[in-house]
């Protein structure tokens, strides 16, 4: 039985560096998945270098095994072996932020009472040392009866020590099955803390000290007025960057795709295969691939903000305001993640303990402009909004994009507010937000995260979008136009027929049938609307060329109405699927889909009519 897989689990308070440690230990070979039915992101990966096969699992951060919000319950249930489809861990790797030992030790004592083999990791040991915190690890290990290792998130020597500790544990531990049960809570919190204080007095010298720059930064960032100004500036910078900084790289990708099309095209004889490869495959995938730089920039901002410790401050600042519409500071992070993609955003609503608030956050998350909408926005804005500098600082296109983001946010606030009026204010699980120490984002961890996101996008280009490009090219090519055709060939194709079929529905919005065709595959992925438009307008040569042909065939009010449609419409099957899974309710999913489509329709109608009057 010595070859059976040994399961290790990383457990600890939120934000103590578990995931960074996980990346180091597994070489970032993480499989990212979700807990079935509970959907907190689950990471697991192989733990190399032990005498037997082993797997490491990264559990969601938790303060307690007894009092738990839903995401904390995941950690408890996995540890106890109550989670279906999850093997109970054989060894717990408890992680403590060494600058915050007291809080961490309380959880460690709870875990220790379970009787599983454990290792204690004092992470962020360098930060602790620079604050004059001196931990006698050998004594602590003796008192706790478990090995204690100091690590510095990525520095190799600490991780090496940890690996040594894990190796020696792996040699002695037997895999066992069956559930554990949580012992009755027999000891008052006061007496646990008394034990911890005694332990700390013996093992740790910790001067009362936080770095002054941290406090100064907090005074600034959490200032009621300055803090909000800083937050607004960060968000504006983020959106300007997405638009402006990405441009040169995007031009480069476009040129490259065009060149590739030419090279491959030259190799193929003229005919159906040539058209398929050049116009269908290369142009279709190229037109979506070009948005990779924007997506990378957006995620770079989100990951850096997440890692720096800034986000909880923003949640703190906005809490009162968000409560005004029935949400809380806790909803801020899921909603912010939804700017990248509503799917992880909705998944991260697990950390919202109040079920009603969680539902409202899920319902409004897709109103946050996700990165898949960027290609569509970028295309339409590029074609219809003049490239001009206003107020000497901002470019008008970036500003328009900013307005689209604001429209989504304002609508979300309105929707949340209306729901609250209907349902009344329930009592809520406490906010009790930990405001972690600021730190420089860990470069390795940051790059791993960025790579993961880029990879998710690229694999979509390679799978869903590739398949859709093929289907679309087929729909747009067959049946062929008759010999004596007078109209563009696509009007005779299946795509043309389909677009014309649904077009009457969109007539009041001013959408022509080309625009309607683009909406159909965009249900699988919004960004495909761009490649569809490229196909139906038979344009090759990149976004600029497509933009100029759109500028000739759409009026400005209709283009704006199209943007408004994309602000609201739940044009994304994966989002609908994740709502279904998260709410576990068909009714909620139908309401979700229905209300967003209705909103999209009304908004597009209003925008078209009003802008026709004003412009």
């Amino acid at each position: 039985m010595s070859q059976s897989v040994l399961h290790f689990a990383l457990v600890g308070n939120p934000n103590c560096g578990k995931t960074a440690l996980f990346n180091c230990l597994t070489g970032a070979k993480a499989k990212v998945a979700n807990y079935a039915g509970v959907t907190v992101e689950k990471r697991s990966g192989p733990l190399a270098g032990l005498s037997r096969p082993a797997e490491l699992i990264d559990l969601p951060g938790t303060y307690s095994l007894y009092v738990a919000s839903p995401d904390e319950q995941v950690a408890r249930r996995v540890i106890l072996g109550e989670m279906a489809g999850e093997v109970r861990p054989d060894v717990l790797v408890a992680v403590i932020d060494a600058t915050n030992i007291k809080l961490g030790l309380r959880l460690v004592l709870e875990l220790k009472a379970l009787g599983l083999p454990m290792v204690l990791v004092l992470n962020l040991a360098d930060a602790a040392r620079s604050r004059g915190i001196n931990i006698r690890t050998e004594l602590l290990a003796e008192r706790l009866g478990m090995p204690v290792v100091e690590t510095v998130a990525v520095r190799k020597n600490g991780v090496g020590d940890l690996q040594t500790a894990l190796r020696s544990l792996a040699a002695s531990v037997q895999t066992r099955t069956g559930n554990l049960s949580l012992p009755e809570r027999s000891e008052a919190v006061e007496s646990v803390y008394a034990r911890i204080d005694a332990l700390l007095a013996e093992c740790v010298d910790a001067p009362e000290f936080t770095p002054r720059w941290q406090d100064k930064l907090d005074a600034l960032v959490m200032h009621p007025v300055l803090g909000v100004a800083i937050l607004a500036a960060i968000l504006l910078l983020m959106f300007q960057a997405v638009f402006a900084w990405a441009a040169p790289v995007m031009d480069g990708i476009e040129t490259l795709v065009g060149w590739l099309g030419e090279q491959v095209g030259a190799l193929l004889p003229a005919g159906i295969l040539h058209d398929f490869v050049v116009d269908g495959l290369i142009a279709g995938m190229g037109s979506v691939l070009v948005f990779l730089p924007q997506i990378i920039i957006l995620f770079a901002f989100i990951l850096a903000l997440e890692d720096s410790g800034y986000l909880p401050r923003a949640a703190f600042l906005l809490d009162r305001m968000m409560r005004g519409v029935g949400l809380s500071g806790r909803s801020f992070i899921p909603l912010l993640s939804s700017f990248a993609c509503a799917v992880p955003g909705i998944m991260s609503t697990r950390s919202i303990a109040n079920p009603r608030e969680r539902l409202v956050t899920i319902m409004t998350a897709p109103l946050m402009t996700c990165s898949a909408r960027l290609p569509v926005y970028a295309l339409v804005i590029g074609a219809f909004i003049p490239h001009r500098t206003v107020w000497g600082l901002f470019n008008l296109q970036g500003l328009t994009l900013f307005c689209l983001y604001i429209a989504g946010i304002a609508s979300a606030a309105l929707v949340a507010w209306i729901t609250r009026q209907q349902q009344g204010e329930g009592n809520s699980f406490p906010l009790l937000l930990e405001l972690p120490n600021y730190r420089w984002p860990n470069l390795y961890h940051f790059l791993v995260g960025l790579k993961e996101r880029a990879w998710i996008f690229l694999s979509r280009v390679g799978t869903v979008i590739l398949a859709l490009s093929i289907v679309l090219w087929f729909l747009a090519t067959f049946p062929h136009a008759p010999e004596d055709a007078t109209l563009p060939a696509i009007e005779y194709s299946f795509a043309g027929m389909l677009g014309k079929l649904i077009q009457p529905l969109f007539e009041p919005l001013g959408f022509n049938w080309q625009m309607c065709i683009a909406l159909i595959p965009a249900m699988a992925a919004r960004e495909v609307a761009v490649s569809t438009l490229a196909t139906v307008y038979a344009v090759s040569g990149g976004e600029d060329a497509l933009g100029s042909s759109l500028a000739h065939s759409w009026t400005v009010p209709v283009a704006l109405a199209y943007l408004a449609w994309f602000v609201y419409a739940p044009q994304c099957l994966s989002t609908i699927a994740v709502v279904r899974r998260e709410t576990n309710s068909v009714r909620a999913t139908l309401i979700f889909t229905g209300y967003l489509f209705a909103l999209a329709y009304v908004a597009a109608l209003l925008v078209r009519q009003l802008s026709a009057i004003w412009l």
Binding site: D218, P312, L317, L432
Partner: protein, 89 residues
């Protein structure tokens, strides 16, 4: 004037105080005991020292405090559960 037992949110910014008691609060209903426990688990125990470091956008809600070297944000309702005596500045 802050009396000897002042709820957390009524303390001025920058004030240092010692927690005297964690009291029950009708707002939390059946959850009140859970909320008290969570507060205690995070270190909000009678005798613990804390410092008020800031307030949210509007008024004294939420309030940020430092306790045992960790900073937490608490809403008005949670803050009302925590009674403290202020240290002379």
């Amino acid at each position: 004037m802050p009396s000897a037992h002042t709820p957390l949110h009524q303390l001025p910014k920058g004030a240092k105080a010692t927690i005297v008691d964690i009291v029950s609060h009708a707002v939390f209903g059946d959850m009140d005991e859970q909320v008290t426990l969570r507060l205690k688990e995070l270190g909000f125990l009678p005798g613990a020292m804390l410092q008020v470091i800031g307030f949210g956008l509007f008024g004294s809600d939420p309030v940020a405090v430092r306790i045992n070297g960790t900073k937490f944000g608490l809403r008005r309702a949670e803050a009302e559960k925590v009674l403290a005596t202020i240290h002379p500045m």
